[in-house]
Amino acid sequence: MIPASFDYHAPGTLPEALALLSKYGDDAKVLSGGQSLLPLLKLRLGQTGHLIDIGRIPGLEYIREEGGLLRIGGRTRESALEGSELIRSRYPILHDTAKVIADPLVRNMATLGGNLAHGDPGNDHPATMLALGAQVVATGPKGERVIPIEQFFLGLFRTALRPDEVLTEIRIPVPPARSGGAYLKLERKVGDYATAAAAAQVTLGSGGTVERVGLALTNVGPTPVKAVDAEKFLVGKQPDAATLGEAAQRAAKAASPSADRRGSVEYKREMARVLATRALKLAVERAGGR
């Protein structure tokens, strides 16, 4: 449980951090909450020459709505998300998600930015951000770059973030009226990664039909799975039980889970379907639907 040696830097400003990242390139890693990175280093499953701790840089932790966007600083702790009244009341899908990440102690250190940047399909926020249609702000030596979330997850432990960038902000469009969302996670016990999980964010139109929907799945593929086919199917339809069920079927088809101790491929795919059904149903209820 003892990491191999590395050098540690605690820059006081973002430009300093970026300069260090540029200098050390692939041999450097950003230390945000450290709750994904340090466990890897302790087991010597990952190696790095330089840890760039962004923990001393002011202005990276905030939750605020402005300009039609919910803006969350990259280093915002999961516990802050969980405890935020704004998030709980207006973005229940995000509250649902923060609540089930690891355990309460880990959440006091773990950050939203880290949860996304790590590129682990087992992490919970990616699916939720896909469902919300979020944007990731990456700050590098040349300034800010806004990356749509659909383009952020490239592969297993690979994101669009460059080695010389820090994930500084997540932007979520403020949902219109008659919107609701839910994140449901099946886990073997508290603290586990998802056997499967589903994030659903829905906006209903005036006739009660689905105007906009985001549906994504956790830990059933090498990246978080955006259920594009299911989303297309739902738009314009009444969100009755049969329709939601059909959408969930389609979402499950988009999943490509691997077998492990949490379940076989068949079971995980089925759980993706069951959870997608339930998440959609709850999202619709919260949107003021039936």
């Binding site: 449980m1 003892i2 191999a4 040696s5 010597r44 355990d103 099946l186 073997r188 016990k189 508290v190 603290g191 586990d192 056997t195 101790r261 379940g263 076989s264 079971y267 089925e270 759980m271 069951v274 339930r278």
Partner: protein, 788 residues
């Protein structure tokens, strides 16, 4: 039962606060890793990634260049002192460090000694081992096939992977009863390998003092004296002599049987300290603990019952294959290679029975230990309670009714079971009735019927277990030849306070309190004034340690007996002081008084003072006694547990809605401590029922080698346990107590398994193996067309 003593004295029956807590709540416990000795070095271990492989070479060059690394110890090093192999507690042999091949994944291959914890870890990373993989044997059934690779090539003339064959009962009579039965049921069940996973892992500091030729080892051990004697026998040839070996168990962070075996790490650290002449500390990390230390269970059982149409069980038959890993390193009494598995007739009056157990080698860590249970009792009770429910289902009889029909009736105790045990006392029916009353059994059955009509799934599971504890009478019980008595050395000081030392070793069971309460009960000295010590072999009387719930039955009894010897002497002193004959004296806790003249009395404190200042002429001064207690029999606590579960038809997840536990452990020393033991045992019983399992793939790779996949329940998975008692005293124990540390781990898994099967029985499901994962349930639902 009303306590005989006042709360200030704190004898039996008082829920007094624990005397050991003040240090723990302040973070001032003294666990092995808290101890630092001058000049201490650190040891870390290189482990094999392969389950079965020849070692072609071990290259230590890079490791020796790591700053802080002083030495690398290999099997070759130890072979020079003939310490590379050692005996196990079951008289098998196991490697300390290999010279030829490794036989399980995570086996110790070499040890690095360094000046710091971190340098030792770096050293381990730098040792280069070249392996030549060999065919792996993981399936115990395949291990018995004629063309299976023979694993123990170190044993001359060994041509197979068999370890032992053991049987009990009357095969012919049992077979006959089966042939003649109205109804027979048969069920194969597997009780998987699990791990005790105490929160503190194993470790030691071995400190060989060259000047005095004395070895002191601070060790996470539940049985310090046994360790000392084993060390003296094993390493006598390198100059270690028992009077100059001291084993110290300081505070232990949970044992549960996992800290009974002698692990290679202890021996290597000791060898290192002897050779280098400095203290060497070894603390394993969690993954090492889970992957290399002794496992529990791993029994493949076929259970059968024969019965009459009306539900009377007439015979029981069980056949078991025991997977022991590559060495039989179980910690059973030596004549019982399958432990006390023959308790498997359980709480039922079964006149004909036959059991057989075959042990087999595989490429897995050696073992197995009695994990929070008496030896192999969890396996036995799981089998009988499951097959009883299978019978109930076959007969379409209510499982509570079937049990009541077959319980050994109170009048038959002491009861001689068909497999040779004499159960001391029992009154099973009231315990089950109490459980049924507390859970609201009739209403639940009604609710179940209504829910079934709506396609909802709920189940009610019963487990009525009998445990067998307190190993054990010297006639039948020994470990490596050492009889399984236990001991107490009790001394009363002039000011009436006491010190009591025992041969057992608490790892959280509260002995510093409960033993003091026993002395308080017998002598009337307040428990708060009785200092209890265990764990230092230099001072404690010889004992076999604490595991398999044996402490209260053996050492607790020894404490009572020693106290009674003291009372005898105290009576003589009192008679002398009061100038009466002993026959004129009456005892109540704390004092002797004259019959008919109660104001003429001497307190135990006055008597103690007199023992040093005014003792009768011709009598030795002092007031102390030693007792080595040889229990006349084992003890048989019992209970009935009822569990209610609800099943999610979409995910297969099982949620425990309620769990009622009625336990009978005879007379109770400290009710609060007993309840604590039961709560803990229930959570540790729920864990293998729903969550915990160590499994291996076909290459012998451990698939649950960390807490990521070895699922220890949190406070969220663990229900709010409801506990109740009946009290049926033990007729042969001086205090009427039976012991209770582990009953719940035995009784809980079948209650939960029975509840899940009960939830699905109307669909035709007869059995589910533990752990009952959501996927297992979901598959059954899918099969039966009931998945969401």
């Amino acid at each position: 039962m009303q306590p005989r003593t006042s709360p200030e004295v704190g004898g039996m029956g008082h829920s007094m606060k624990r005397k050991e807590d003040p240090r723990f709540i302040r973070g001032k416990g003294n666990y092995v890793d808290d101890i630092v000795l001058p000049g201490m070095l650190w040891m870390d271990i290189v482990r094999s990634p392969f389950a079965h492989a020849k070692i072609k070479s071990i290259n230590t060059e890079k490791a020796l260049k790591v700053p802080g690394v002083l030495a690398v110890i290999t099997g070759e090093t130890l072979a020079k002192y003939n310490l590379h192999w050692m005996p196990t507690l079951m008289s098998d042999t196991q490697m300390v460090l290999p010279t030829e091949k490794v036989m399980y994944q995570a086996q110790e291959v070499a040890a690095v000694i360094a000046t710091s914890r971190y340098a030792a870890a770096d050293g381990v990373d730098a040792v280069e081992v070249d392996y030549d993989p060999l065919p792996v044997v993981v399936n115990p059934f395949k291990a018995l096939e004629p063309n299976a690779p023979v694993l123990r090539t170190d044993k001359k003339d060994k041509k197979d992977n068999r370890i032992f064959h053991w049987e009990a009962g009357d095969r012919a009579a049992t077979d006959k009863a089966f042939a003649e039965a109205d109804v027979t049921v048969k069920q194969a069940l597997y009780i998987p390998r699990i791990h005790v996973a105490s929160i503190e892992t194993c470790g030691c500091i071995a400190d060989f003092d060259r000047v005095n030729g004395k070895l002191t080892v601070y060790m996470t051990t539940q049985a310090p004296h046994a360790i000392r004697t084993v060390f003296a026998l094993v390493a006598g040839h390198v100059g270690l002599s028992e009077e100059r070996i001291r084993i110290v168990s300081p505070d232990i962070g949970g044992g549960f049987g996992g800290k009974v075996p002698v692990y290679p790490g202890y021996v290597i650290a000791t060898a290192a300290s002897v050779v280098i002449g400095k203290p060497v500390k070894w603390i394993e990390d969690r993954m090492e603990n889970l992957q290399a230390d002794s496992f529990a269970r791993d029994y493949h059982i076929t259970a059968e019952l024969a019965a009459r149409k009306d539900g009377t069980i007439t015979a029981l038959r069980m056949k078991t294959l025991a997977d022991h890993g590559y060495a039989d390193a179980a910690a059973n009494p030596s004549k019982f290679p399958a432990g006390l598995f023959s308790i498997c007739t359980g709480s039922y009056d079964v006149s004909k029975a036959f059991v057989e157990v075959d042990g087999v080698y595989t490429n897995k860590p050696p073992g197995g230990v009695a994990y929070r249970c008496s030896f192999r009792v969890t396996e036995a009770i799981h089998a009988i309670e499951r097959i009883t429910d299978v019978l109930a289902q076959e007969l379409k009889m209510d499982p509570a009714e079937l049990r009541m029909k077959n319980f050994i009736p109170k009048e038959k105790f002491p009861y001689k079971s068909a497999l040779g045990w004499e159960y001391d006392s029992g009154d099973y029916e009231p315990a089950l009735r109490l459980a049924m009353d507390k859970i609201g059994y009739a209403a639940l059955r009604k609710e179940q019927a209504e829910k079934r009509a709506r396609g909802e799934l709920m189940g009610i599971g019963i487990s009525s277990f009998t445990e067998i504890l307190g190993a054990g009478p010297s006639k039948h019980f020994d470990i490596l030849g050492i009889k399984m008595f236990d001991s107490c050395e009790l001394r009363i000081h002039p000011t009436g306070k006491a010190i009591a030392r025992f041969g057992t070793k608490s790892q959280g069971q509260g002995h510093e309190t409960t033993y003091a309460q026993i002395i308080a009960e017998e002598l009337g000295i307040p428990a708060s004034a009785v200092q209890v010590e265990e764990g230092d072999t230099d001072t404690a009387p010889y004992g076999l340690g604490t595991y398999a719930s044996r402490s209260t039955p053996t050492a607790g009894a020894a404490g009572a007996m020693a106290a009674r010897k003291i009372r005898e002497k105290a009576k003589k002193i009192a008679a002398y002081l009061l100038e009466v004959s002993e026959d004129d004296l009456v005892w109540e806790p704390g004092k002797f008084s004259v019959k008919g003249a109660p104001s003429r009395s001497k307190t135990i404190q006055e008597i103690a003072f007199a023992a040093y200042t005014n003792h009768p002429p011709g009598m030795e001064a002092g007031l102390e006694a030693v007792n080595y207690y040889d229990p006349p029999n084992l003890t048989f606590p019992f209970g009935s547990y009822i569990c209610v579960v609800d099943i999610d038809r979409g995910t297969g997840m099982v949620k425990i809605r309620r769990f009622v536990a009625v336990d009978d452990c005879g007379n109770i020393i400290n009710p609060m401590i007993v309840d604590g033991q039961i709560h803990g045992g229930l959570t540790m019983g729920m864990a293998p029922a729903l969550l915990e399992e160590i499994s291996y793939d076909e290459n012998g790779n451990n698939q649950a080698g960390s807490f990521m996949d070895y699922l220890v329940p949190t406070a969220v998975e663990s229900p709010s346990w409801e506990t109740f008692k009946t009290v049926t005293p033990c007729p042969h124990h001086p205090l009427g107590a039976k012991g209770v540390g582990e009953s719940a781990t035995v009784g809980a898994p079948p209650a939960i398994a029975n509840a899940v099967v009960d939830a699905l029985s109307h669909l035709g499901v007869k059995h589910v193996d533990i752990p009952i994962t959501p996927e297992k349930v979901w598959r059954l639902l899918k099969e039966k067309g009931l998945a969401e």
